[in-house]
């Protein structure tokens, strides 16, 4: 039976509290300071493979259709997000026109961690891997494109240089 929502965790409110983006940014900064770049990537990978394990399971069961459903529901619950989710037969593309996190961090005049946008790649890749999927991210710093597709050994690896540094 199809779940009433593709989100793994539900809440009584329709949209999250935007000020929590401050805490996400601060958490990344703290972990980078304590554990370095590799430690931060391990944290992101752990979130993707453990905390988001229910999402991976749904993607494994439902394939790219599940990916599209998840991201539509996800961005509908993020304040001020403007994201177009394009389902396709071979991939799902997220056209992030307004990233809600960067938008709110700028509005709050917060110092944004330069590698902030890399978290989208490392978390999503860890979520996608158990479902035999992968992701490529291009852009960042407020708007980007994320493509989810089936794993293929011939596919070039993610080029991190294609993910922009975030600025205030």
């Amino acid at each position: 039976m199809k779940s009433p929502t593709p989100l793994p965790y539900t809440d009584t409110k329709a949209v999250g509290a935007a000020d929590f983006y401050f805490a996400i940014n601060a958490t990344f900064r703290f972990i980078l300071k304590k554990f370095g770049e590799e430690g931060l990537r391990q944290y992101w990978g752990g979130l993707g493979s453990r905390y988001f394990a229910p999402v991976s399971a749904a993607w494994r069961a439902r394939g790219l259709e599940g990916v599209a459903e998840y991201w539509k529901a996800f961005f509908a619950a993020e304040p001020d997000a403007q994201v177009e989710v394009q389902p396709g037969t071979d991939c799902v593309t997220l056209n992030v026109k307004v990233c809600p996190a960067i938008h709110h961090l700028r509005k709050g005049q917060r110092e944004i961690l330069p590698c902030f946008c890399q978290h989208c790649y490392f978390i999503s890749e860890a979520m996608a891997q158990p479902a035999n999927l992968t992701v490529r991210v291009e852009g960042g710093n407020g708007s980007c494109r994320q493509i989810f597709l089936r794993r293929d050994p011939n596919l070039p690896a993610q080029d991190l240089a294609r993910i922009k540094e975030a600025t205030c």
Binding site: T10, V15, A17, A23, N25, T27, R29, Y43, C99, I123
Partner: protein
């Protein structure tokens, strides 16, 4: 992307991730450095500048944004919060998320040091079921916490029939500014 809709879920997951790597000391440092001094610096600035008026402004905004069921009571000497439906702990309970052994400690983990810096101290209890109360006074005020109903009247969370069900036990903090200054 890591979002804010389920923030409390990955926030709590992060507590365990940090504690596994650096023990409680690292978790305490996280609450102080990342949450108090970085994420919530707007709260710190507001309360340092305006005292109890700043507390009214800060918690009025943040608890409404998070969708909390709560009441506040303020006099010139004390600021009190009665949390009847903690949006944060409520989210975890509804979604059966419990990675960390005492999620509720995170509040005093960052609020304690913040208020200490501004010259305030805290009387506080939480019951681990989404209910808690706070009384915040200047650290030079020796007044004890109010009796149930004495300050917050019918809004006092301690008057709820389910306030003290015995399991899990209630944690008590008396004139505290640190999560490890727990009476029980």
């Amino acid at each position: 992307m890591l979002g804010v809709f389920d923030f409390c879920g990955h926030y709590e997951w992060t507590f365990s991730w940090l504690e596994e790597r650096g023990g409680r000391a690292l978790l305490l440092a996280y609450w102080d450095e990342a949450i108090h001094r970085d994420s919530q610096r707007h709260a710190s600035e507001l309360i340092e500048a305006k005292g109890i008026e700043g507390m009214k402004e800060y918690w009025g905004h943040t608890l409404a944004q998070e969708g909390a069921g709560y009441a506040t009571t303020a006099t010139e000497k004390v600021f009190r919060i009665d949390m009847h439906e903690c949006p944060s702990k409520g989210f975890l309970l509804r979604n059966k998320l419990e990675q960390h052994h005492d999620y509720c400690d995170h509040c005093i983990g960052w609020i304690g040091p913040m208020l200490k810096h501004s010259g305030f101290t805290i009387d506080h209890q939480h019951n681990h079921c989404g209910q808690c109360w706070w009384e915040i006074r200047t650290n030079t005020d020796p007044s004890p916490p109010s009796a149930p109903g004495g300050l917050a009247k019918e809004s006092d969370v301690r008057l709820r029939p389910d306030w003290n069900s015995g399991e899990p036990s209630i944690d008590t903090f008396s004139r505290a500014n640190h999560p490890d200054k727990k009476d029980t």
